[in-house]
Amino acid sequence: MSTRQIVQHRKLAHDKERNKTVQADLPLYPEQASNFAMSVDGLMAYITAVCAFFAIAITAAIIYFFFKYRRKHPGEVGVPIHGDMRLETAWIVVPLFLALTMFGWGAVVYVDFRRAPMDTLDIYVIGKQWMWKIQQPTGLREINELHVPVGRNVKLILASEDVIHDFSVPAFRVKMDVVPGHYNTMWFRPTKAGRYHFFCQQYCGTNHALMGGWVTVMEPMEYAAWLSGSSEATANPVLAGEKLFAEKACNTCHVTNGTGRAPSLNGVYGANVLLADGSAVTADDAYLRESILNPQAKIVAGYAPLMPSFQGQLTEEQIIDLTSYIKSLQSQPVPTKGSGVAPATGKK
């Protein structure tokens, strides 16, 4: 409760200072501060132009007809015209063509948004009624504040502790729902330093409107300085994850050298894992999360479905800690036997 009040106070203070610049003139679009801003605004301009053309043309025709063909005397009837095949064809084909161009362009932008590039800075975002908890790659935690460097591809891994939320940054023109039960991801590349609103954009209960904050886009140097400067607030997620790994007795089966009842987790993060049904899957955050909460969903080839579910026993943050720990094992040597990792020779 008190955290929220503090955040609110801070937010109001920022609002006031920001107000001076924004309210002076009535803007028609928010600031353009990410790689998506230009393409979304371009789409907006294109569709607005096409629609405005038709809206104005049709309205003008209606107004013209309305006055030109007004009834001259009470008994007058109109000229019986029942239709025209050429016109009907034209106004089916032309709008269809234009609609398809809108679809195509929109699809290009969307596919770009849904496919994050490889070299991203991964930041965890957890939504809960009614606040955002954010964890930087170093483990630095923030509440209702997100700091990112300019020019770097940033991927947000979104999780919810309760209901559906939505992380939205109008200045970046992006948003993604934060759905309990699985991870969603979104990415963007900030292009302009500054402070921008982010909002919860999926209605989530009483204080939905207060569930927002600020994205601070910083120059890379500043960002690095900020990360190291605020080290006192840093909880080391790898250490926390390692502790949890022992507490929950994960280490009794997932033995590092591959001799346990479960595969070694060395090098598994980001690798291809062979499954019992013959398929393979990339071990990303979502896969690890699913394997912790619902282990029966994907069984590693050569192993029995023994692992119990940890559904309801871990918070989203603890899952992220565990994931961070498993991630830290990425560079550890993969045992030749007793790992789910597909042999490097198997695929290119």
Partner: protein, 555 residues
């Protein structure tokens, strides 16, 4: 109208309103016209309730911090506004009031195919309405009208269960009405009333009925599942119980997107009646308008996941649903082009229903075109769940559906009551509505593009100017709604006597007295003319094209 010798209009001695007397004769009536009036009273009641909530919402949003109520209450206001307006006003409005009254008369039938089921559907509506009112008055409802899980099924502390039951029960009223309409259109058309002589209003009702029957069971079962999860903790949608919250959205929108067409298709039907009457010429492209109604009803079932582009649904699903959403826009465009072309070389009068019809085209145009923005995948990641969406669907549902409904009420008011409303006041009201509506909702498009999220009880101060504009517009809009309520009620007693065909219109409903007798027609009519065919209707007393010289001579 005015100078013709037979102009001394008289009310018929006996008609459906005075055929029997007493409260029982209304509550146990099986006359579709009386049932329509029962619906008129009840949907108007819910419109008032929903309108009161809307008024409070707009007053609250005058100030960035919220002027009127707590966030909790605000959330209840917009939820209850949505539930009352969508499920208990918009969906039943045109079908259950105007459709009920007119559909049998327009096809030359004595009543609907199942008159008792028709009455039953009104009672079911009432029972559903009582549940919802119970929810509103005992804790309210704060889930959003969309009832998204797990907020509704687990986390909300408001009266969700009775509300969900109320909407569930109300669904059966829609299903029965749809069934009744479909059977009636198939089996009870008068001799000579072929499918392609059907008034376009009937085509629209028929298309709507298809959606009623196919879609409503899905929302009914979906809300029931959410209720079961809430009460008995069965894991359908709650991930903690192994459910999937996104499944709810698929099921919900599978109905609720077509439900948008339930609201707009009948209004399109009304407009397709009004425009030929007041342009006094056949409608341009009859079969294209009729066919586009069916196309909308069918394609409308395959676009639901465009409400879910940012839920994390698969990219391929998003691509498919975006493409299909663009396809469903085409039949709507076809209608607009055909209505506009109907005006060409017409004999256009400025009567009130025509003002509503033209206002409808203008507002529906904006509502429909902004749908193209939201169907666009790349743009939707910015616009989704902002005020842009609010503005878009209010242009469709209020600018479209409500303008159609109020326009239709004016057009058929003389038929329903036998009386004329005061024309001058009515024109003022129509213009007030149009201007007030635009001032209310157009600023919200800009708010949305600036990023203001919907369902916010408070907002950053930079959004205030546009919110104040919107509230100013809403007060004009409210005036625009109050005026017709007053003068239409007034006219029931004091209005001038209308006569059977004041405009005149070409449909069968205008060939029976106003108000019609209980059996609608004294003799079963036989249809020998094409729809909206003013040229071959000497019975209307107009200067048909057979005498063009006369028309020129008058100039």
């Amino acid at each position: 109208m005015s100078a013709t010798p037979a102009a001394v209009n008289q009310m018929p001695r006996e008609h459906y309103l005075n055929a029997t007397w007493g409260i029982r004769s209304w509550l146990l009536t099986t006359d579709h016209k009386r049932i329509a009036l029962l619906y008129l009273a009840s949907v108007t009641f819910f419109f008032f309730i929903g309108g009161a909530f809307a008024t409070m919402i707009r007053i609250h949003l005058l100030s960035p911090k919220g002027l009127l109520v707590t966030p909790e209450t605000y959330n209840k206001l917009f939820t209850m506004h949505g539930v009352a307006m969508i499920f208990f006003f918009l969906i039943p409005s045109i079908p259950a009031v105007l459709g009920n009254f007119l559909l049998p008369i327009m096809i030359g039938a004595k009543d609907l195919a199942f008159p008792k089921i028709n009455l039953l559907s009104w009672y079911i509506y009432l029972v559903g309405g009582c549940f919802v009112l119970y929810s509103f008055s005992t804790g309210g409802l704060d889930t959003g009208w969309t009832f998204y899980t797990p907020l509704s099924s687990v986390y909300s502390n408001s009266a969700v269960t009775p509300a969900v039951l109320g909407v569930f029960i109300n669904g059966f009223s829609s299903i029965l009405t749809g069934l009744n309409f479909i059977v009636t259109v198939h089996t009870m058309r008068a001799p000579g009333m072929t499918w392609f002589r059907l008034p376009l209003f009937v085509w629209a009702q028929y298309a709507t009925s298809i959606i009623f029957i196919l879609g409503t069971p899905v929302i009914a079962i979906t809300l029931l599942l959410a209720g079961l999860e809430r009460v008995f903790h069965l894991g359908f949608f709650n991930p903690a119980l192994g459910g999937d919250p996104i499944l709810f959205q698929h099921l919900f929108w599978f109905y609720s997107h077509p439900a948008v067409y339930i609201m707009i298709l009948p209004a399109m039907g009304v407009i397709s009646e009004i425009i030929p009457t007041f342009a006094r010429k056949p409608i341009f492209g009859y079969s294209f308008i009729a066919g586009s109604s069916i196309a909308i009803a069918v394609i409308g079932f395959f676009v639901w996941a465009h409400h879910m582009f940012v839920t994390g649904e698969s990219t391929y699903a998003a691509l498919t649903f975006s493409l299909l959403s663009y396809l469903v826009a085409i039949p709507s465009a076809v209608k607009v082009f055909n209505w506009t072309s109907t005006l060409y070389k017409g004999s256009i009068s400025y009567d009130t229903p025509m003002l509503y019809a033209l206002g409808f085209i203008g507002l529906f145009l904006i509502g429909g075109l902004t749908g193209l923005f939201l169907a666009c995948l790349g743009l939707d990641i910015h616009l989704h769940d902002t005020y842009f969406v609010i503005a878009h669907f209010h242009y469709i549902m209020v600018g479209g559906a409500v303008m159609g409904y109020v326009g239709g009420l004016h057009y058929w008011w003389p038929k329903i009551t036998g009386k004329l409303y005061p024309e001058f006041l009515a024109r003022i009201a129509a213009i007030t509505l149009f201007l007030g509506f635009n001032l209310t909702f157009f600023p919200q498009f800009i708010l949305g593009y600036l990023g203001m999220p919907r369902r916010y009880a408070s907002y950053p101060p930079e959004f205030q100017v546009l919110n104040v504009m919107s509230t100013a517009g809403a007060s004009i809009l409210a005036l625009g709604y109050l005026l017709p309520m007053i003068y239409l009620t007034w006219s029931m007693r004091y209005g001038a006597i209308a006569g059977p065909n004041p405009w005149p219109g070409t449909g069968l409903e205008w060939r029976t007295p106003s108000p019609p007798p209980t059996e609608n027609f004294d003799v079963t009519p036989e249809v020998t003319w094409e729809p909206y065919d003013y040229d071959n209707r000497p019975d209307l007393g107009l200067d048909v094209s057979g005498a063009p010289a006369l028309a020129h001579g008058d100039d």
